[in-house]
Structures are given as C-alpha cells and as structure tokens.
C-alpha cells in the first residue's frame, strides 16, 4: 500500500484552511475602505486549491485501477451493529471526479483574481470559493452516504452564499433563497431515500458505498427485493427518492428552476459551481449507487425520461434567452439532461465521461462569457453586444473552442462524449436517440446564436463595445487553457492514440459490475460508431447552418429587459408556474396549520392545560402553608411511608 493514502484527509483540509485564512483576512480588513490585501487572499485561495489538485494528481498517479485508498480518521456513529465512519475513500471514480474538480477549480480561482479585482468583498469571495471546494471534495471523497451528505449540504450552502454574493440587490438574494429552498426539497428526498435503503438492507444496513455495492452484487439478496415483495417497494422508493435528491442538485425536472436564476452570482461561480462541479454531483451519486439503480429498471426508465425531457426543454428555453449567462445556464441544464439520460440507459461510464468533458467546455464558455461581460462593463444582454471578436481575440478563440466542443463537431470533447451517449441511447430506445438528436440540433442553434450575437456583426451599442478590451492575463490564461482542454479531453476515450484511451478502463472496476448486470437483461444493438458520429456531426452542422441563416443578417433591437417575452417567457418559466401550484398548495396547508391546528387545537389544548395546572397548584398550595403542625404531621407521614417502604420492601 501507498504512503500517500495517509494524507487523504489533507484533500478537504487544504481548501478548508484556505477558507479559514481568507475568512480571517476578510474580518481583519473589515474596517478599512480598501479591504484586506487582494494579493494575499488571492494567493492563499489559489494555492489551497492548487495544493489539493497536486495532491489529487499524486494520488491518482499512484492508484492502481482496481485498488482503493481508504482512510477513516474516526468513527462518527457507533450504535450497536450500525456504524458510520468519518471516512474517505479514493477509488478511480473519485480520482476522475477530483481531478477535474480541483484542476478546473484551481484555474477558476486564478481567473477570479482578475475578475473580482475591483470588488470590495474579494477575501470573502475567496473564503466562500475555498469552502465550496472543500465541501465538493468531501462530497466526492466520502466513503459513505452520510459523508456525501455533508458535502452535499456544504456545496448547497456555498452555492447559496455565492449566488447571493452581491447581496445589496434584492434580486440576487431572492435567487439565492430560491436555490437554497429548491435544493432543500431535493435533499429531503436524499435523506428519505437513504432511510428506505437502510430499511431494505435490514440487519446488514450500512451506509458505506462498498458495503451497499457488495450487498446488491450478492445474488442471494435478490429475493429480498423480488417483484411483489415489500423489498421491491422499498427499492423503488429508495431509488426514486435519491434520484429526486439528484434532480435538485443537478437541476433536472422537476427541481430545475433555480439554476437559471443562480446566474445572479459572479461569473466564476457560475462556471465552477453551476456548470462544472456541483451540478454534476447528482450524476456522480447515480454512478456511485449504480449497483442499486440497475436493479430497479422502472427507476432507470424514469431517469432516462426525465433526462431527455429536461435536455429538450432546456435547449428550447435556451433559444429564447438574451442574457448571455442565461443561455449558458439553460445549456448546462440541457447537457445535464444528456448525462441523466445516459445513466438512465445504464451507461454510467458514458454519463461520467460527459460530466468530464462538459466540465471543460462549459467552464470555458462561462469564463469566456465572464471575460466578455468584464470587457463591456458588466452588460449581460447579448443584443447590445456584437462585433467583439476583433476586440477580444483570445476570448473569442477560446469560446469558439468551447462552441466547437459543445456542438460535437469532429474531434472536439463533445464529439466523443455526446455521440457516445446518443449511441448508447439508440441501443436502448430509438425514440430516446431521436429526441437526443433533436436536442443536439437545437443545442447547435442556440450556441451558434450566442456566438453570432456576441462576436459577429456590428457593435450594436457603441457605448459598450467601443471601449471593450481584452481581460488581464489572470483571466485569459485559464480561459485559453480550458479552451485547449475543451478540444483535447475527448481523446481520453477516443482510442485513436494508444495509451491515452484510459477513461473507460479507469472507471471499469467501479462501474462494470452494475453495467454488465444491466446489459445482461438489455441486449443492445450494435451500430456502426462511424455512422453515429456522422449523423451527430450532421445534426450539429444543420443547427449551426440554420442559426447562421437566421441571425447573421438579422436586425436585432436591444430594447427593454433581457427577459424573454410571449411564448418564450411561457416556455422559459413553465416550471416556475408548475412550482407555483405546489407553492400555493403548501401555503394553503400552512394557513390551515396556522389558523386551525395552531390557533384552535393547540391553543385550546394549551388553555385547558393551563387551567388544570392552575387548579392542581391551588390545591397543593394549601398544604404548603406555614402551619407548624401541618408541616410536622406531613413530614411524619413521609417518615412512616419511607420506613414502611424500606423495612417491608426488604422482604
């Protein structure tokens, strides 16, 4: 075994220390107008993230694919046969997740030094960002469901703090609260699902992932959740509830309305939390519990259906947005839908591969959008931009790389992962494939629209675009690096370059038992990979061509707010309306609770209780009056009773 595995605890502790240091700095500089030293807090924040990345890299390099690094600093809960360790485990799935979380995280920390340079809350921002990274690492590194839940709640908290980072505007606070509350609904599903899982496992209940996987892989347990038994119901409830938790965190139907609103936060936050890392934790959890999910085919079909519905809906919604970040937000929701669809057809490795590639190209696009917003002085409405490619050549090239990757054009990152997902979807159901392809066309449509409106044509608002300038070095470097990643990371599954094609083999020890179990019951038709790639590329080109035909010459007027109108607004806020029904029902329930249950029943009972206590009190008070003879008599009675109890009771 490796010496390095004793330092697993350092992974979350490094960013946590960065968060503490930055928190202290922020407090220390609270009284000054300038705030604490930006150099110092940016340095601490980035170094903490970079340190975690280097450590992850060392661990990942020394990890044998079949091995697991595990460390449990202490036992958390010890109640009879039920034990929960405060444990970390580092297997190939964790390694893959952590590599891009800490890697992209470090780049985004670095980017933030430039992006937030003018902001008074610089140190506070880095404290939150580091805290987020620590929580995310705990989420992925935890060896059991409860550890993951700590991280799950931690990233939720940091998401809330960072969406509402500019808290002087009420809209930002509302967005933060919305994200927090919607996620809370999902978290309830996570907890209840965990409890249902424990009930299913009965006497062998354990929260450790290794134990859960082993329990489900043991064929002798299959009878416990065979069709028609209580166990089958528990399994269904558990998988559906945990999936509900995933929809909350990963912005899927029905809990998806918070993510577009979350764009109220600073752009690096949108890139890190709401595109690359936190929102993919739902996919991670599905893969972690893949052994459980493949044993519930109904849930998997639900996941696939929800995934493709979300992908399609969000892609269309993305078409109607004028806010550059909103387009990317709906695009993220749509791409997450692809990942869930892949998980739903039992291809957890494909969904994780899309998580991986998506992290790169979406972070590129968000950071590029951040550079654009920075260049035009905070304006986010694309209708006021235009013609920016000459002013921001580096940003343009990087974003073009991201655009190339998300469209799935040949050899870009999305080419490998999206086509892989579509190929697997075809094997499961041609309908899923068709809808997926349609989504790909619309994806090309809205992404090309974004590029055209932002970078091509004439500057439509001279005030903004005339003074546009390339961002400082700290911002362009991460964008360019991520842009290169967006072009290149697909080759980890390409099989074109020997030795680099490592992704599949790397995840195989964790995922293959579940996937081969699934494949046994669902013989997939093998299609020609080349044909799928050709059709996928064609779909992207069609979308891009339509977009070019519509928008390259279109007259666009920048009037009013950037929010969509008419049908676009209906489509965009459709799920907000649906939520409105539930909220109204909840409010009605709350009214009943307040006026009837609280006022009539509880207050009535309380008044009765008060009256009874008063009566008894009056009765007893007469005994307490200072009458010497009464007191003496009562104490004598007490003495006699005590004597009787001890003397007679001894027999």
């Amino acid at each position: 075994m490796n010496q390095l595995q004793n330092y697993l605890w350092l992974l979350p502790v490094l960013p946590l220390a960065g968060a503490l240091l930055n928190g202290i700095l922020a407090l220390a500089g609270a009284d000054t107008d300038e705030g604490p030293s930006r150099g110092l807090s940016g340095f601490f924040g980035t170094v903490a993230a970079g340190g975690a990345f280097v450590l992850t890299l060392l661990l990942a390099l020394s990890l044998h694919p079949n091995a697991v690094f595990a460390q449990a600093p202490w036992t958390w809960i010890d109640a009879g046969s039920f034990k929960v360790a405060f444990g970390f485990s580092f297997d190939s799935l964790t390694a893959m997740m952590l590599l891009f979380i800490t890697g992209i995280g470090t780049l985004i920390h670095f980017y933030s030094i430039g992006y937030m340079a003018e902001d008074r809350g610089f140190a506070r921002f880095f404290a939150y960002l580091n805290l987020f990274l620590a929580s995310m690492i705990v989420l992925v590194l935890g060896s059991n469901l409860l550890m993951t839940f700590i991280g799950w709640e931690g990233v939720g908290l940091c998401s809330y703090l960072l969406i509402g980072f500019w808290h002087k505007e009420e809209a930002n606070n509302n967005a933060a609260r919305k994200a927090f509350l919607v996620n809370r609904a999902g978290d309830l599903g996570f907890l209840l699902g965990t409890i249902a899982l424990m009930a299913l496992m009965g006497s062998q209940a354990s929260l450790e992932y290794s134990a859960i996987s082993a329990w489900f892989r043991d064929a002798s347990h299959a009878a416990l959740f065979a069709a028609g038994t209580t166990g089958a119901g528990l399994l269904l409830a558990s998988t559906l509830l945990i999936f509900l938790g995933c929809t909350g965190k990963s912005a899927q139907i029905p809990l998806l309305t918070w993510l577009p609103d979350a764009m109220a936060g600073p752009t690096p936050v949108s890139a890190l939390i709401h595109a690359a890392t936190m929102v993919t934790s739902g996919v991670y959890l599905l893969a972690r519990l893949s052994d459980m999910f493949v044993r519930s085919p109904l849930t998997l079909s639900v996941i696939a259906g929800v995934g493709i519905a979300t992908a399609l809906w969000a892609a269309v919604a993305g078409l109607f947005q004028n806010d550059i970040k909103k387009v990317l937000a709906y695009s993220t929701v749509s791409q997450l839908g692809y990942m869930f669809m892949a998980a739903g057809v039992g291809s957890f490795d494909a969904s994780l591969f899309h998580v991986f590639t998506h992290a790169f190209f979406k972070a590129t696009l968000f950071l590029g959008a951040g550079s654009v917003i920075h260049a035009v002085g905070g304006e986010q409405d694309m209708r006021k931009m235009g013609g920016l490619w000459k002013k921001l050549p580096l940003t343009f090239l990087a974003m073009a790389a991201g655009w190339y990757a998300i469209l799935g054009l040949p050899l870009g990152a999305g080419f490998w992962s999206k086509d892989l997902i579509l190929e697997r979807a075809y094997g499961s159901s041609p309908l899923l494939y068709g809808l997926g392809l349609l989504t790909a066309v619309i994806t090309a449509l809205y992404m090309t629209r974004l590029m055209i409106l932002t970078f091509f044509g004439k500057g439509r608002d001279e005030k903004l675009t005339a003074h546009a300038h390339e961002a400082p070095f700290t911002m362009t470097l991460p964008v360019v690096l991520l842009g290169l990643g967006a072009l290149g990371v697909g080759f980890f599954w390409a099989g074109m370059i020997p030795g680099l094609d490592s992704f599949h083999q790397m995840l195989s020890p964790v995922l293959s038992p579940a996937q081969s179990f699934w494949a046994r019951g669902n013989e997939a038709e093998e299609g020609s990979a080349l044909l799928f790639a050709a059709i996928g590329t064609l779909a992207a080109l069609v979308g891009a061509g339509i977009a070019w035909a519509i928008w390259s010459k279109a007259k666009i007027e920048a009037v009013g707010s950037s929010a969509p109108k008419g049908f676009g607004a209906f489509w965009t806020f459709f799920f907000d309306y649906i939520h409105g029904i539930f909220i109204a029902a909840t409010k009605a329930l709350a009214w009943i609770g307040d006026k009837i249950v609280q006022t009539v029943i509880f207050n009535g009972l309380l008044a009765l209780l008060i009256y009874a206590v008063g009566m008894v009190g009056d009765a007893v008070r007469s005994l307490q009056r200072s009458r010497l003879r009464v007191n003496l008599g009562l104490s004598l009675c007490g003495l006699v009773l005590l004597l009787a109890f001890f003397l007679l009771g001894a027999w």
Partner: protein, 105 residues
C-alpha cells in the same frame, strides 16, 4: 421485687413517645410543644434503658450511657428553646405557634 417484663418497658416507652408526639402535633402553645419534645426524648431514654436490661453485658453499657447524653441534650435544648420563646414573645405578644408562621414578613 418482681422483674418487669422487657416488652412492657418498650410498650411504656412507645406510649410515652406517642403522647409526646401527639402533644407536639396538636397543641399550638409553644410551651406544650416544647414539653412534647421533652416527653419524646425521655421515651427514647426509657427505651434505651429497657434494652440495656435485656441485652448482653457489653451492649448493655451503651444503653445506660446514651440516656446520659440525651439528658444533657434535652437540658440544652430546653434552655435554648425557652430563651427563644421569651424572645419571640417580646415581638408578637403570643405563645401561639401559628402566630409565628410568617417569620420572614
């Protein structure tokens, strides 16, 4: 001289104790309460002396010695008790125990 039965002595002690207790509990006059306490103490003394007759030599001495201490105790108790009665009588002009039930007021 006919020997007194040990049991009868104890019965007498019990009777005395009950008289003392009843006096303490029922009378309101402070002097009578004090007297009741004295009677109970003496009933205990009588019980000790009675047992010293029936028990073996080693234990019998103790039964004779304890009453001596109790008599000393009773004397000091009477002394302090009477002094206190005189003092409280000065303030309330009464020897009724219930008149002193609100001392803290």
């Amino acid at each position: 001289m006919t020997a007194i039965s040990a049991l009868n002595v104890q019965f007498l002690a019990l009777l005395l104790f009950c008289i003392g207790l009843a006096t303490t509990l029922t009378r309101r006059n402070l002097f009578f309460i004090l007297m009741g306490v004295e009677i109970m103490l003496n009933a205990a003394n009588l019980s000790f002396v009675g047992f010293s007759r029936t028990f073996a030599a080693a234990a019998s001495m103790e039964g004779l010695v304890v009453p001596v201490f109790v008599i000393a105790l009773a004397a000091s108790e009477a002394c302090i008790g009477l002094a206190m009665i005189i003092l409280v009588f000065h303030s309330r002009e009464s020897v009724d125990s219930d008149a002193y039930s609100r001392m803290k007021e």
